[in-house]
């Protein structure tokens, strides 16, 4: 029960309360660049959600099995070169950033090839966006959030498992999709508005983003209320 509440709150938190785009400012480039039409925004959102889930899975797995201090695979490999005690202290966390970025880049490549080959229909709807999202901060950001909940946590009982990491990744992507689709909907109507010449494009998008961020601020604090409503302690 407690676990389900946690999962639910992580999902709500990632998608709405601490929305990736409107609270953490990650994924701003596509938020401004690809938010001109709703169908394109949906495609971009789908691609990001898909890749972010895969990246969340891979980064959690690699962090717990290889990168964090005392990780089983590293300990086993290091055991061949040094005493078991010293092998348990081998710490590869300094490599995390390099590993994450390559995990993201290669999973984007593989997903693109796979989708193009086996799901041409799906590829048409969001495949074209895949190459663009290697440098999307949202994906690396999700990996980093997962890392902060796995490495160096004081209370091992609170360290995230695979389930929570996947939920964060997936719903982070959903939050991105929500934000970019809302923005695209507004911008479609904006075409009919009389905007000062110098504010057209990025400037007005940012200002609308500010108003959206204000609206999303209304969600802050909802999680403590939800936790109490679901029978947990505040």
């Amino acid at each position: 029960m407690g676990y389900l509440v946690d999962i639910f709150l992580i999902a709500v938190g990632a998608a709405l309360i601490n929305n990736f785009v409107l609270y953490y400012f990650v994924g701003i480039c596509p938020f401004i660049g690809v938010s001109r039409r709703v169908d394109m925004a949906l495609g971009m959102g789908g691609a990001v959600t898909f890749v972010i889930s895969i990246a969340a899975f891979l980064s959690w797995t690699l962090t717990t099995l290889v990168l964090m201090p005392g990780a089983p695979v590293t300990r086993w490999v290091a055991g061949f070169f040094m005493s078991a005690d010293r092998a348990a202290t081998v710490d590869l966390t300094i490599l995390t950033y390099i590993v994450y970025i390559f995990v993201i880049a290669s999973s984007v490549q593989f997903v693109e090839m796979y989708v193009r080959k086996f799901y041409p229909q799906l590829y048409k709807s969001f495949g074209v966006f895949l190459p663009l999202i290697t440098t999307n901060c949202a994906i690396l950001f999700a990996c980093l959030v997962i890392m902060s909940h796995v490495v160096g946590v004081d209370n091992p009982a609170e360290a995230w498992g695979l389930g929570k990491s996947l939920v964060l990744g997936f719903f982070g992507g959903v939050g991105f999709t929500i934000a970019i689709v809302i923005m695209a909907g507004i911008r479609e109507d904006l075409d009919l508005c009389d905007i000062p010449e110098s504010f057209k494009g990025a400037a007005i998008t940012l200002i609308i983003g500010g108003i959206l961020a204000m609206a999303f601020m209304g969600f802050t604090g909802v999680d403590s209320g939800l936790r109490v409503a679901l029978g947990g302690t505040p």
């Binding site: 409107l22 609270y23 953490y24 400012f25 990650v26 994924g27 701003i28 480039c29 401004i32 300094i94 490599l95 950033y97 390099i98 970025i101 390559f102 880049a105 440098t135 999307n136 901060c137 690396l140 950001f141 980093l144 959030v145 902060s148 000062p196 010449e197 110098s198 504010f199 990025a202 400037a203 007005i204 998008t205 940012l206 200002i207 983003g209 500010g210 108003i211 961020a213 204000m214 601020m217």
Partner: protein, 208 residues
């Protein structure tokens, strides 16, 4: 391809004519996230500057050895390595700042400014030009961050870099240091700069 803009041109272009934030709209993630105070903004600018300078110099040194399709891999590897160094350095010598900036330091890896400069300048031109380019772009980035951070911190808290500037009676506009303030300030500044440009070019058009 060896004949590109000269070092001086590169340096000057980075600051205003090709400002990474206002003109190229690159690195917006950092621009919006760390500008709630002048101190974090300047730390971020220096961090990005260090990574950009190191990456540009290294890429420029090995530019003749680069294979076209391994280019991006080399860029990413170099950038990620220098970002890791910056991250650890901040953790060791500026612990509070590193805690405040949190994930935005590692996110420099996917800051488009750096990979863009490696691609456009460093992989084609000499070390000196690449270094001048990096310094110019960094100053441009720093100025852009400072312009947003000054407005946000001043209106949001009445302080600048943690020192009270406005009279204590100033009713802090808390919204300015919260996420919406970042979007609004940057959006308005961007529009303003576009407008100034438009007015300038209209005047020149009339004269010429």
């Amino acid at each position: 391809m060896t004949d590109g803009p000269t070092p001086t041109e590169r340096f000057i272009q980075g600051i205003l004519p090709e400002n990474p934030v206002y003109r190229q709209l690159l690195g917006l993630c950092a621009t919006l996230a760390v500008t709630n105070g002048l101190k974090p903004a300047m730390t971020m600018a220096v961090a990005v500057g260090f990574v950009l300078l190191s990456a540009n110099v290294i890429i420029s040194l090995i530019r003749n050895l680069l294979k076209p399709h391994l280019r991006i891999v080399v860029f990413t590897l170099t950038i990620a390595a220098f970002v890791t160094i910056v991250d650890r350095f901040l953790g060791a010598y500026m612990y509070q700042m590193s805690k405040a900036l949190g994930p935005y330091i590692p996110l420099i890896i996917v800051n488009c400014i750096i990979i863009c400069r490696c691609e456009v300048c460093a992989s084609r031109q000499s070390v000196f030009t690449a270094a001048a380019d990096a310094v110019g772009q960094t100053i441009g980035f720093g100025l852009a961050l400072a312009s947003i951070a000054v407005i946000r911190e001043l209106l949001g808290t009445g302080m600048l870099a943690g020192i009270q500037v406005l009279p204590a009676a100033w009713p802090s506009w808390v919204i300015m240091v919260l996420p919406p303030g970042a979007f609004l300030t940057f959006g308005l500044l961007l529009g303003l700069i576009n407008w100034v440009d438009a007015v300038k070019s209209a005047k020149q058009g009339r004269k010429g």
